[in-house]
Structure formats: structure tokens, C-alpha cells
Amino acid sequence: MATDPMRIRAQAQGSNAIVRVLMMHEMETGQRRDAAGKTIPAWHISDVTAQHNGKTVLTAHWGPAVSKNPFLQFTVKGAKAGDKVVVTWKDNRGESRTDEAVVA
């Protein structure tokens, strides 16, 4: 299944860069039932990694309690305009997506 692109915004602020990411994912909790009363299996992003100029700076593990179309904000120290930020997510079905942005 095709995945929708993330929206990544990396903004330089002083000597740091604030990165905001909006991912497109259903984040099904595994608690809900469909019209036939069957439990809808959990389907969520389980791993997120962020790289700054090729170096992994942040890893996150998420459970199904993170909201649909998850938002993530973090601050990279020592990042300046023109640096590359790459964000990758992987869900519990084994799908993944990588997108990148340049610090502005």
C-alpha cells in the first residue's frame, strides 16, 4: 500500500533547529470494533527515527495511543540553515516511509 508523504518543517532558531513533523497514518488502536463487532487489529507507527546530516539523533517508539496522523516536534542542537533532516517511520505491519527536509 502506498503511504502518504510526511510534512516536515525544520526551522533554524539560534544555534538549534526546531523540527516539526506531521505523518499520515491511521494509528488504529486495536480497541475499536467494526460494524460486525470484530476487533479492528491495531495498526500504528511503532518506530520513528530522525537523522541530522546522516547521523541518527532521535529514535522514538510509539504505541497505538499516539493520535491519528501523528505530530512530532523535537529540537536538534547545533543544526543550521541548509542542514538535512531525514525522518523515517515504520509501522507494525512492516511498512515504512522516509522523507527529508532542509533546515530553513
Binding site: 470484530k38 476487533t39 532521535l58 497505538p64 516536534q73 536538534v76 507494525n92
Partner: protein, 156 residues
Amino acid sequence: MNRQRRTALQHGASLAGLMLSLGLMPGVARAQAAGFNRAAFDAKSLADVLKAIGAGTPAESKDINLQAPDIAENGAVVPLGASTTLAGVKRILLLVEKNPNALAAAFDLSDSIDANVATRVKMGQTSNVYAVAITADNKVLFAQKEVKVTLGGCGG
């Protein structure tokens, strides 16, 4: 006319019974991703989560800043953030006490990440939320706050 209606009702009732039994079937086994601590995400309380990841006893700290709303109108989207000025924080956890599984998100920070992360979580009901920071020398510090939810995000 009446007879037909009765038959239809009976069919409806048996169908509902069938749906119920289907709903009681055990859930499909969830795929295990590498590096993903399933035990921590299955734990029901703060203490169990910390045990699952092998962290020590938590202490409440004023140095941890938990950003959460007082009242969340929509439990499906509750903005949560955690930040601290403490040095050497390598891990930040966000938990919602009364969710089916307490742990919502865990962040592993490298040295070049400021200890300041934010995301959005789902909350089933009014509950305490926790931000836990684990430092490089294994100190476990947390902050908590009650968030009132007027519309749950985990129902369906």
C-alpha cells in the same frame, strides 16, 4: 404483514448474536518490530512500564516540565509535550494512566537533541498523564498532571 415483521426481527436478533460471538474472538497477533519493547507498551501502569524497560524507582521532580491542556475537548487529539533543563537526559516517556495501555510514546535522545519533545496522543477518559525523564546515570524523574477529557478518543 405482522408475521413477516416478526421473522425479520428474529433474523436480526440471531445475526446480532453471531456478530457478538465474532467480536469475542481473540485479537490477531500483532507484528513485532525490531527494537520495539512490546512488554513496556502492554504494561498497565507507570510502575509496570518502568519495570519493563528496566528503570529504577521514579521520583517526582519540578525540573520536568509537562505541557498538557487542563481540559481536552477531544480525547483523540491531546497535545502532550515534555521538556527539561536537566543535563544528560537520554530517554523521555509519555504515559496516560487510564488508557488501556499506559505507555503512549518513548523517545530515545542522542546528545544532539534538546530534551524537549512534543506529540499528540489519544486519551480514553479523564486521567493523569506523566512525563518521565531517564538520565544517563539512571535517575528516573517524572512530572504529572490531570487532563480532563470531555470526549473520549478510544471508543468506537
